[in-house]
């Protein structure tokens, strides 16, 4: 469904529930945009990757300047130099192993591990000796807002979630608690489906270990 089609469906749904819909097209669009952000936030389906230049003297990198204000979370990192995924570590582990780990310089000119500090700072260990090399850093972020002829980026099965969210949001703004909460319940079920789909959509195709094998 495109955004225009979603808006039509929202209008139809609102009219089914109450005669005389008191919402403007702009308000419906805003509710759909909010729903798109909420579903994307809850499920983190929109993964982005940035090739970052490594800097020798950078203590921590700022995900807000890499991803912009659409940042949701910092993801894993891959080193093109070593062709390996970096190990996720926490600063407490590094502190426990070497109290001066901040001064350790990578012999291979590539970091071996990554860590986060707070919600948007992240860093690499060990640091590089000069401003050379890159890291492919993954993030999850909000998708770009939809235009009328854009469809949501996630799977078609879950597009109805935006209809339910917009219905919920508009009724909540109108103070119609019963209608709003009923729509929220329907929305929450679709959101849970999208979250599960994002996290484990390939689980059924996975080959099990320890001798078990699906027939």
């Amino acid at each position: 469904m495109t955004k225009a089609e979603i808006r039509t469906k929202v209008l139809r749904k609102l009219r089914q529930q109450r005669a005389g819909v008191p919402f403007s097209e702009a308000e419906i669009n805003q509710a759909i945009d909010d729903g798109y952000a909420e579903m994307s936030d809850a499920s983190e389906w929109n993964e982005v990757v940035q090739l970052l230049d490594l800097l020798a003297d950078r203590p921590y990198y700022d995900a807000r300047t890499v991803c912009g204000q659409s940042l949701l979370a910092i993801g894993p990192a891959f080193s093109p130099t070593t062709s390996r995924w970096l190990r996720p570590v926490v600063v407490g582990d590094l502190d426990g192993n070497d109290r001066r780990w901040e001064r350790v310089v990578s012999p291979s000119a590539a970091p071996d591990a990554y860590f986060t500090r707070g919600l948007w700072w992240f860093g690499y260990y060990p640091r590089v000796a000069s401003d050379t090399g890159t890291v492919k850093q993954y993030f999850t972020a909000l998708p770009a807002p939809m235009e009328d002829d854009d469809a949501p980026g996630f799977h078609d099965d879950f597009h109805d979630g935006l209809v339910e969210y917009a219905t919920y949001d508009l009724w909540a703004q109108a103070g119609e608690a019963t209608l709003a909460l009923a729509a929220w319940t329907r929305y929450a079920a679709i959101e849970a489906g999208l979250v599960a789909h994002t996290k484990s959509r390939n689980s059924t195709a996975r080959v099990a270990g320890y001798g078990a094998h699906a027939q």
């Binding site: 901040e102 707070g118 919600l119």
Partner: protein
């Protein structure tokens, strides 16, 4: 573009259908937004920042004759303290003798200038405590010379060294107890003064890295102001603007702290969170506004918004823990146990073998 307080207040009033502020005032909504921001920062701790407990002689501000008299009565203590006059009239209060002996009034505005008055610093003690501002929630890490040092309780510090407040040497810990809610004590009291950068020139903004003689890095770009200094983490509520002070790690104590976001005092104040997280505050304010008894009271919807808020706080916490949960742990820990090694014993068949 980051959200401002007025963006969110307008959005909340619009969603409440009360843009005329007949039921809820914008001041009330502003208060809810501030409450939500504080609660999110307290509960999820998303903001990490850096603070220095500088091992430098403290500038001393002297504005009254009484203060000068007080200093004059304890020259031994005041030696090395640098006083600063703020009005020309104050200079007139000093006698000619006072201007050349202790205490001395010097217009010190930054550490490098204090180097010029090195002749009055011998014998002066370096500060054993430093302050953190009211936004700091907790100290996450403490470092001296880029080495992690301990976070101690006063009991720990007393047990290790009962003269920890006076013994000078290389600091091995910090104590955030016993000296007031914003004062952090260094253990031991530092004995070496931290280095400071030499700044080329005497006025104006920091223009590029070359102004700071101890850094030797290329400047990215060809115009504008210096935005960041290599090797230094941007400190403070926002990372824009130009660096005002440059701290060197060598003999300083660096704290990595969890802090509150910058307060939302004015309508144009930016919310120090990515936009999506700023939007959480809008729904928090909706919940609080609808929960207020009186006109507009909507307990069902208020409860719903409050439940969504709780879910979102947990979402932020989960994202903060994500790297921790993804890391591969080593059974038994990656460090050797810190217990006493086993006592040496004879092998069990030793007696039989002697026979």
């Amino acid at each position: 573009m980051a959200r401002t307080r007025s963006d969110l207040t307008a959005a909340v009033l619009s969603r409440l259908g009360d843009t005329q502020e007949a039921i809820w005032t914008s001041d009330e909504i502003d208060g809810y937004l501030q409450d939500g921001l504080s609660e999110l920062c307290r509960a999820a701790k998303p903001i990490i920042d850096t603070v220095y407990l500088e091992n430098r002689h403290e500038p001393f501000v002297c504005t009254y004759q009484d203060e000068l008299d007080l200093l004059a009565t304890m020259p031994g203590f005041a030696v090395g303290r640098i006083s600063r006059i703020t009005y020309e009239d104050e200079r007139a209060l000093l006698t000619a003798n006072q201007q050349v002996t202790t205490p001395r009034a010097c217009p010190i505005t930054c550490p490098p200038e204090s180097e010029l008055y090195a002749d009055i610093t011998p014998g002066a003690l370096l500060p054993a405590v430093g302050d953190v501002d009211g936004s700091v929630i907790e100290i996450d890490r403490s470092l001296y010379d880029s080495r992690v040092i301990a976070s101690l309780t006063t009991r720990d510090a007393r047990n290790i060294d009962s003269r920890y407040e006076t013994h000078a040497g290389e600091p091995y810990g910090v104590v955030w107890q016993g000296d007031g809610p914003r004062t952090v004590r260094k253990v031991k009291r530092p004995s070496m003064e931290a280095d400071v950068v030499d700044v080329d020139g005497a006025f104006g903004l920091l223009r590029d890295g070359d102004d700071v003689a101890t850094t030797d890095d290329d400047v990215t770009g060809t115009w504008g102001i210096a935005r960041q200094i290599p090797g230094h983490h941007p400190m403070g509520s926002f990372s824009f603007g130009t660096p005002r002070r440059v701290y060197l790690d060598g003999k300083n104590i660096r704290l990595e702290v969890v802090r509150q976001a910058a307060p939302l005092d004015a309508p144009q104040d930016l919310i120090e969170l990515p936009d999506r997280y700023a939007d959480y505050l809008r729904d928090y304010a909706m919940g609080e506004a609808l929960a207020r008894p009186g006109a507009g009271h909507q307990p069902q919807l208020a409860q719903h918004y409050q439940a969504r808020w709780a879910t979102r706080i947990e979402r932020v916490k989960a994202r903060m823990r994500r790297v921790s949960t993804q890391r591969i742990s080593q059974l038994g820990g990656s460090q050797l146990p810190r217990t006493r090694p086993p006592s040496p014993r004879l092998p069990w068949p030793y007696a039989a073998m002697r026979m």
